[in-house]
Symmetry: C2
């Protein structure tokens, strides 16, 4: 359907399929949003060497596609994100995770741009993932779903963008795992990306980051309720293991300074230490809360797949180890943003991408935002960050000939 004009809105048929392909026991995780369905004639070719079919991609759009189809911005979400970038999540009831950036008059201005955000393949919030029903068995895939990679996610997004009738994206933007997808877009489909904004990310996952992900996976797999990934069949969910995984990851999203400022050694609900193993310190209660609320909204197997996708990410690996080669000849305009206190994707990881882009003679801007809020800063109100996005996107829009 590539090049077709109409924006696909969910039909009753697609909605039905969406429900059918979801495990009954995860209905609470099934959001109501447009869903693009790709049948047996349109399989997704995975890096694992398998054609995955059928697949469905849940997504949301904000703003209007212009007549030229030249004002589309694809927003890529992070590890546990979803396609509710700028609208209330039906799962959590919270505002979209980037509502502060996307909207009328905001840095990603929905009065000017047509914004698309889709749930990644391998996810659990509407797109095909390990909790989806394998049509061959009638059971959830679980670990029988092949490992999904960042290029796989991007290939699926390209199928959606085709379906929406868009040839070239004005911009692709995202932070963390979303930033990996942005970089992958510029390598997989260089001619289809006018401007790229990879934020708080890197061109490959570091040993330390793999280590923290492996801890999370081991925590999930150590939970006997995980049942080798077949927990739905046993009416169970590895909530304790997944909570520990989330707690571990969450600490890496914050900076020591932010933790110190927010919590320090403040005690929870007590005048003095309790001399026991209940949560004494506020940081303990906070982490436990983070763990417990996460398991309500996220599928444990999907967490394994998402972390694996990030760990596998290494753009240079396909280019004889040369990142510059990956970007050779790129006409995309790049803007990279890092945050000074981010220790998950420190500035130097972002700068390595900038250096490769320089070596490839690509057009690139780079800004490091001073903040003590760590990796999570890309999801927070950071005026200098917003100004950087706004300035770069506006400038790219002029170059693209997008009138106000």
């Amino acid at each position: 359907m590539k090049g077709e004009v109409s924006t696909v809105r969910p039909t009753a048929d697609i909605e039905r399929k969406s429900r059918t392909t979801s495990a009954g026991n995860r209905e609470a995780l099934e959001p109501s949003s447009p869903v693009a369905y790709f049948g047996p004639d349109e399989p997704l070719r995975l890096d694992a060497g398998i054609d995955l079919s059928p697949i469905q991609i849940a997504y949301n759009t904000y703003g209007e596609l212009n007549a030229d189809r030249s004002n589309a911005i694809l927003v890529c979400h992070a590890l546990t994100g979803d396609h509710y970038a700028a609208s209330q999540s039906p799962v959590t009831g919270k505002p979209g995770w980037w509502s502060s950036i996307i909207g009328p008059g905001k840095p990603i201005d929905t009065d000017r741009y047509f914004v698309i955000c889709s749930n990644v393949i391998g996810g659990c919030l509407g797109s095909t993932g390990p909790a989806s029903i394998d049509p061959e068995t009638g059971e959830p895939y679980g670990l029988t779903l092949p490992v999904i990679t960042i290029p796989d996610m991007v290939r699926a997004q390209a199928m959606l963008v085709d379906r929406l009738g868009i040839d070239t994206l004005f911009a692709v933007i995202g932070g963390s795992m979303g930033g990996m997808q942005v970089l992958q877009w510029t390598v997989s489909y260089p001619e289809r990306v006018f401007a790229a904004l990879p934020i708080a990310t890197g061109a490959r996952h570091s040993a330390q980051n793999i280590a923290f992900h492996e801890i999370g996976r081991q925590a999930v797999m150590a939970d006997p309720d995980w049942q080798a990934g077949r927990y739905f069949a046993h009416g169970k969910r590895p909530v304790k293991g997944l909570a520990v995984a989330r707690m571990t990851a969450h600490v890496t999203y914050l900076s020591e300074m932010a933790l110190h400022r927010k919590f320090g050694r403040n005690l929870q609900d007590r005048e003095r230490l309790g001399f026991g193993f209940e949560a004494d310190f506020q940081i303990e209660s906070y982490l436990r809360h983070q763990g417990m609320t996460f398991v309500d909204r996220f599928d444990a197997n999907s967490y394994l797949y998402m972390t694996r996708a990030m760990d596998y990410f290494d753009i240079a690996a396909d280019f004889d180890g040369s990142l510059a080669k990956a970007f050779q000849g790129s006409k995309t305009r790049f803007c990279l943003v890092s945050f000074s206190s981010d220790w998950l994707f420190p500035t130097e990881e972002n700068r390595a991408v900038v250096h490769a882009l320089n070596a490839a003679a690509a057009s690139v801007s780079f800004v490091e935002i001073e903040t003590d809020r760590g990796h999570d800063a890309f999801l927070l109100e950071e005026p200098n960050f917003f100004a950087a996005i706004d300035g770069f996107v506006s400038s790219a829009a002029r170059a693209r000939g997008l009138s106000r």
Copy 2:
């Protein structure tokens, strides 16, 4: 027995008691070493407000106590350390954890000094801890043992030092949790410490460090085999949870640079990615190995107690929040050492102690060792570190009038 002359070597009686107070199912963890036994007439007063009795303290000594009893150095071990500082561990078969520093002609020269190292109270390698038998029930204490603090550990060490007939320690030295004990010694018994060497430590545990410990505790407690701490009674051990806890802690002991240098994204036993959830990367295999070997040598409840002790540590809390007040009037000579890539106890945490000592007009040296090996550097061969220890200890020995 304070001030008594003879060094206590284990008697058949003490040895028997040692075995009796150990849970039968942890015999493999029971090392053979001198054990000091303190009966009902010598209880250990705990910060929790309870008198713990009886207690036993397993220890080792190296070198000879001089006639003046003025050449004793107390070595304090870290979170999962033991009293085999300079001799082979009967549990792991490995050389002592500080064999590179302690020995004839080494920075802590056993030809000159009498070195004592004891297993901390709350531990699991010979001293009284949660796996010891509660005489009131005949069952292992488990979580009925009161929470143990760093001051409690130090109070027990002072009982041992009394028993050994030593009034003033020439030096107290230790890294990480061992460094916390060193600092506590100078506050609890300022007149009994001639020189103090707190290494890679801090005067209180930071929010981030508490967070990582809490993750480890939650991992242990999430393991159904933990059985609310009563796993021995059920013939079980929470090995999976404890392994995840250890993996988490282990990452914090290393630096990103060290992980990158040692492992990078090197693959394990394969030419290419496996597209599954087995260990693909060497860092994954390494971490799994660290987790698995740890559970063979450490008791899960003891891990809860040790981490809690560190989390509770906050010297200034007892001095109206003023660390300088804690050290007021101290005549001890201090030497603090930090490691540049240590992010668990970064240089600034060590420097905060130095500043407080300066404010208290104490005698203090401070050195930051340049290394990319992270927190664990204090256990490794670091020539500049060894030179700093050697120089400070030799200088203090001259001031103490210890002839060569």
